[in-house]
Amino acid sequence: MSSGTGVERTEPGAAQGSAAVDTAHELDLYRRMLLIRRFEEQVYLLYLRGEIPGTLHQSQGQEAVAVGVCDVLQRTDWITSTHRPHGHALAKGVDLRAAMAELFGKATGCCGGKGGSMHLGDPSVGMLPAIAIVGGGNTVVTGLGLAFKLMKTDQVVVCFFGDGASNEGAFHEGLNFAAVQHLPIVFACENNLYGASTPFHQTSLVPDVASRAPAYGVRGEIVDGMDVLAVREAAGRAVAEARTGAGPVLLEFKTYRFAGHSRGDVRGYRSRDEEAEWKERDPIVRLRERLAVSLSEVVLDNTDAQVEAALDDAVEFARQSPLPRAEDALTGAYATVIGKESTP
């Protein structure tokens, strides 16, 4: 649908014919998804072992969204993320070692150990520290879009958010403001069916978040979030629209988190059947199968090994990295310090 007020539905697999992605590129998409998957799996173990403090919100199963969307972005484009940011961070190019070290709470982390799992980010690759307030990014993102518009750059910003966040006032105000200002923003909803334990369908009478796009006069589209090529294609179109001032666009990726909401969630609120069904659609397995048609097992196994090596290196780096200095906690709240920086 090309009008500004409709909701479009891209059928699963629709993007597979896309000529834009050659096999090398597909392999790269695979590698990046796998990196996220293995990162999540590893940090979970490290968390259980007590090497990573705090809590974790993980994105196994949702890798295609992060990777497919970020694949169509430039380094100078930006993203905002949520309490579940690991995949977004790695997909946008946050240094693997720095991301891992941040989870360890080390000085070499991308936020110097001040941010942690829920605030991963790095301005140098175009990612704000993730915002762990549900919907928090949906208003702040408008400012990035506004800055790009006012500065007349052709940058675009993608706002990742969850189905749960779509019921926050922030979703409404952010999208409406972006719409009236025609800001270069793609609102990328990862609808993984649940906000924590609560099913989306219990929190909204409309089954699709994208159905809310017409209320703001913007284009909405439902995308198979388990197919990285479909994600990539839809995101590519949306980003192109946003970049040329025809945005914002609201994309809804139907996806699923294979893990619990946060560490320790035993997922009693959903059925094992449902989980199994979605596992069938594992975006990494799907792409590997597709690649296996044109590439040899050796090439794929090699890629897997590269990922493992990179992860091992990152874990080792994080382990060996120094802790932050305790006193560094007391500085950094202000850019221009007047008097004492903080209470002694």
């Binding site: 403090p53 605030h119 549900v134 969630d265 007391l330 903080s342």
Partner: protein, 348 residues
Amino acid sequence: MTVAAAPANGERRLTIAEALREAIAEEMRHDDKVFLIGEDVGVPGGFGGAFGVYLGLTEEFGHDRIIDTPISEKAIAGAAIGAALMGMRPIPDLQYADFLFECMDELVNQAAKMRYMSNGKLSVPMVLRCPVGTANRGAQHGQCPESYFVHVPGLKVVCVSDAYHAKGLLKSAVRDDDPVLFFEHKLLYGSKGREQAGGMDLTAHVPEEEYFFPIGKAVVKREGTSVTIVATHMSLYRSLAAAEELARDGIQCEVIDPLTLLPFDEDTIFASVRKTGRLVIAHEDTLTGGWGAELAARVAEECLYSLQAPIRRVASHDVPLPVAPVMEQTVVPSQARIKAAIQRCCEG
């Protein structure tokens, strides 16, 4: 309502989480106007609220009275306020106190003002439970924002640190006709293993019989003559531990848990300060503009001539919360910092 005396020694010990659950269940049985509403509070197979306090309640009370909501803090607060205005007694839940900022308008401009604006024709009986405190979750999931609400005329603010008072105060809060914000520390629930609170015993005696503990009353947790310490949550336990250490040096700390921050129990605290001549205040909320400032200001006005030394405040440093444990522990008031402040106060 019978108001129980201070907890006697007895065999039944509960965690704060259990005590809160029991208080809610009792009040829901007692008054069918009491209901729960919030995020992930009653989903079958779910968490029973972010900290498991509601586990099992849906089975007894059903989904009409344990209402799961969208993630919509304004709607949750608004629904609670509106229902309270109509005579219900809602217990809304936003998971973490950090998210109170999402419905500040509803709390500050509506809940706190409706009674006054209506010239007393309406009231807003609701209890908003707010889990606070640092637990390695970073800047947006560990704040202790109770002091913002101490500044809101029309609200009441409660801060509980043990199971006995948690239950007694929650029951009083539910029956109170005004909006009460009820702050609980995440590390003190006792539901997630002792190690989180550093090996402390997180249970307390909770009588079988029904009891209430009144809003607006502080308790003296430890008697002493050298210095008064007023502290809440983790800072209370760290103060008690520091007091033990200092007792060996002959410093006898009187440690007070204020329990209600708005209104303060001035009588108990002023009497103690008049006796000891010295005051240390400890809280995990940040220093500048924290409730310790209000208490210090009142004591400086009302008990100035009793003071033998400057009032010392120990609080989280004035920065957002960092996540790395080594930094986080630097920000929040440690036992060592509290002890040092007491020593300094006793020298001054």
